[in-house]
């Protein structure tokens, strides 16, 4: 009917608008030579904790900045600033994901020329953020061990779309009897996603493979002729 047609049109219009804004953001990032990484996960899977540990490890090698997305509170931005790194908080109100316009406004509060790696911490949500391009170069999905190893199959939109999967909170494996890291990798392959799967514990500061991966990605981004993915 007409209402359905109108709905489809409006939603496609919103998507086209977001894609244009994301391209604009990516142009900003590439002009300034900033590597931009979008972190996504369920609420509380450990995004901010991983950023804290990453900043501690890499602050002396890279100039880092963070855009924090949350419905409410400045808590995560405050945690990042306490590490001596610039952070812009986006309050989405009731919106369940960041969009490219929100990120654009935040970008203009940062000095891109002074940043090597910009992390965007998306709203904790294993569904909606996967469908909105922000202009990032790489998408990371975190999966914390207490959530269960079946999450990639049950929330495939996210796990199909990401360039790296980080299994977090491995320190809890000692008390979780039904989580298999091998099963996570198998499920990612079932979704036809060739992305690497790393395990880590921010709590134990056991994050070396992730730091190596970041180094590699940053070197690639700086390679002449590097083409970030669309």
């Amino acid at each position: 009917d007409t209402q359905q047609l109108q709905t489809v049109e409006v939603l496609e219009g919103l998507k086209a608008h977001n894609d244009r804004a994301a391209s604009h953001n990516r142009h900003h990032f590439d002009t300034a030579g900033v590597l931009v990484i979008n972190l996504m996960s369920s609420p509380g899977a450990g995004k901010t904790s991983l950023l804290e540990a990453t900043i501690d490890a890499l602050k002396s090698n890279y100039r880092i900045a963070v855009i924090e997305g949350d419905l409410e509170t400045e808590n995560d931005a405050a945690r990042i600033r306490a590490k001596g790194v610039p952070a812009v908080q986006i309050s989405t109100g009731s919106a369940c994901h960041l969009d490219a316009d929100m990120v654009h406004r935040a970008v203009h509060e940062l000095s891109l020329a002074d940043i090597d790696i910009l992390f965007i911490e998306n709203v904790g949500n294993l569904v909606c953020p996967a469908s909105f391009d922000l202009g990032q170069h790489l998408n990371i999905a975190l999966l914390s061990t207490p959530e269960g190893d079946d999450k990639p199959l049950k929330y495939p939109v996210m796990f199909r779309a990401c360039d790296l999967i980080l299994v977090t909170k491995t320190d809890l494996l000692a008390v979780l009897d039904d989580f298999s890291c091998t099963a996570v990798s198998e499920h990612i392959r079932q979704l036809a996603n060739p992305a690497p799967v790393f395990t880590l514990s921010s709590r134990r500061n056991d994050i070396a493979p992730w730091l190596d991966w970041l180094d590699t990605q940053h070197k690639k981004q700086r390679t002449p002729g590097f083409k970030p993915m669309a």
Copy 2:
């Protein structure tokens, strides 16, 4: 501009349509005298595990049925059916929440006359499900201890809207040094929500206050003159 206006109109139209469908569902439920409970949480917070433990405990007192919402897989419905209880799986595809139309279709696959309590397990998502009325009588938010006790303040839309908060996976408190159940209650009060906050562990079958609460709600629903909330 025109596009924004059109967007607002379309979204309001969708909301009004959903509200009508939810009222229709609620009429079905009230006519049949079925108590309907909507379970919401982050992915993996323990919704299906709690339903399994609840069915084990109450199957001989109540006729229970379950509507399962997931993006993909029949896994949760299969777990419920293995307990000898009817379950209808809704596959939302890429939709991040159940809506009243989806639930209506599922309801017509059940025999409401043969059900005392119908549980709806929503898609794991701490944001979007809170905004879509399904026709349920009561909303439950589960918060698992590994997610952190700050979730009510950071995801207030959900925690403002629910009639009961269940802090799950309390067996893990022994190894989590930064989770306070008291802090959860305080945060719920800060949101001006007077709902009770219970703690439980499905793993340890430590769920007595939740079972008592269900008994009380079911008795209320059966009281002559009972008016379920809008």
